[in-house]
């Protein structure tokens, strides 16, 4: 299976670059940005999966999730956040997120979620 095309959106620049590097080392085509304005430009390149931080500075992650789903409902979104409250998790899933991971994430778990999210996208 061809590895997924990924877009990582998180306002922590160092985290974005490190995570992007680690996912690229695993064979993914990963790109990272630190704000939604840059993220929206890369959405035109149709990533399979977006890894999205819920608490961005320029826009609320939940709003971005809704926008991504409006633009292309087949793009799978994995939410990632330091907040682990049930309300945020349920709200994300209700708005179409594929899954929700609490930071710090385990890379193997993230990889497994990405692969499953890509499979789901392939069936849509």
């Amino acid at each position: 299976m061809k590895k997924a095309k990924l877009l990582i959106i998180d306002d922590e620049a160092e985290l974005v670059s490190t995570l992007t590097e680690r996912l690229n080392l695993r064979g993914y085509d990963a790109h990272g940005v630190t704000n939604f304005i840059d993220g929206i430009k890369l959405l035109n390149e149709t990533p399979d999966v977006v890894i999205l931080d819920i608490g961005l500075q320029d826009m609320d992650g939940m709003e971005i999730l809704k926008k991504i789903k409006e633009i292309n409902p087949t793009i799978q979104v994995i939410m990632m956040s330091g907040y682990g409250d049930a309300e945020r998790i349920n709200k994300s899933l209700m708005h179409g997120a594929y899954d929700y991971l609490i930071k710090p994430v385990d890379i193997d778990e993230l990889v497994s979620k990405i692969d499953n999210a890509k499979l789901k996208r392939g069936t849509m």
Binding site: E14, Y83, V105
Partner: protein
């Protein structure tokens, strides 16, 4: 009556743990990247060294930031040890604003404070004072628009320390979350000699010394 102070502590803990999880995420990813590079290798290529050094530096910086942030939280927690203690106003402000920084950033509201140099030490409840400051900031943030600001000025005159917290900007018409009634907050302030009053965009806290 306890509902509001508990909600305040909950907010501080939630934001604190969120921030620490972010710090740990970077530490974990940086350590993970070093491990990825070293995996199944007996020696490291020269060209990989800058990335390893950069990751080690990121880990050290992040640990230092986390320690600093944890110390603020620890000091905040100890403010609840006694209802009355002697404290310096500047450190109480420094703590609460550091802990509220992310909340302010999220709302895109800047905070400036101006502390007169001759402020005497205070004998009262630092926790209740922090709760009142939080109430003021929170009630503005719930109605704030991006790029507005909160200005705090602290003066001392006639044995009264006056903290004026002023919102500069427009308010949104309908706040999404409930703004606590001032009367509830005043009930809590009555446990001490601190008083609080409110005008539309100004909240004043008076502390007798």
């Amino acid at each position: 009556m306890l509902e509001k102070p508990i909600a305040f502590i909950a907010k501080i803990i939630a934001d604190f743990t969120h921030e620490i999880n972010n710090h740990l995420a970077l530490i974990k990813e940086s350590a993970g990247l070093i491990s990825d590079i070293c995996k199944d290798k007996k020696s490291i290529d020269k060209k990989e060294m800058p990335l390893i050094k950069e990751s080690l530096e990121a880990i050290t910086n992040q640990i230092n930031k986390s320690v600093n942030f944890i110390n603020y939280f620890n000091r905040f927690a100890h403010r609840m040890d006694n209802l009355k203690s002697t404290f310096v106003l500047s450190s109480v402000f420094e703590e609460i604003f550091e802990l509220l920084k992310r909340y302010l950033n999220r709302k895109k509201v800047s905070l400036k404070y101006n502390l007169q140099s001759n402020i005497p030490t205070i004998e009262s409840s630092p926790f209740i004072l922090q709760f009142l400051i939080f109430y003021a900031v929170d009630s503005f943030l719930k109605k704030s628009i991006p790029d507005s600001s909160i200005v705090v000025s602290i003066t001392s005159e006639n044995n009264i320390i006056r903290i004026v917290i002023k919102y500069e900007g427009e308010f949104i018409e309908t706040p999404v979350t409930e703004i606590w009634p001032l009367s509830n907050i005043q009930e809590i302030a009555y446990l001490t000699d601190i008083s609080i009053s409110s005008d539309e965009k100004i909240i004043t806290i008076n502390i007798p010394v």
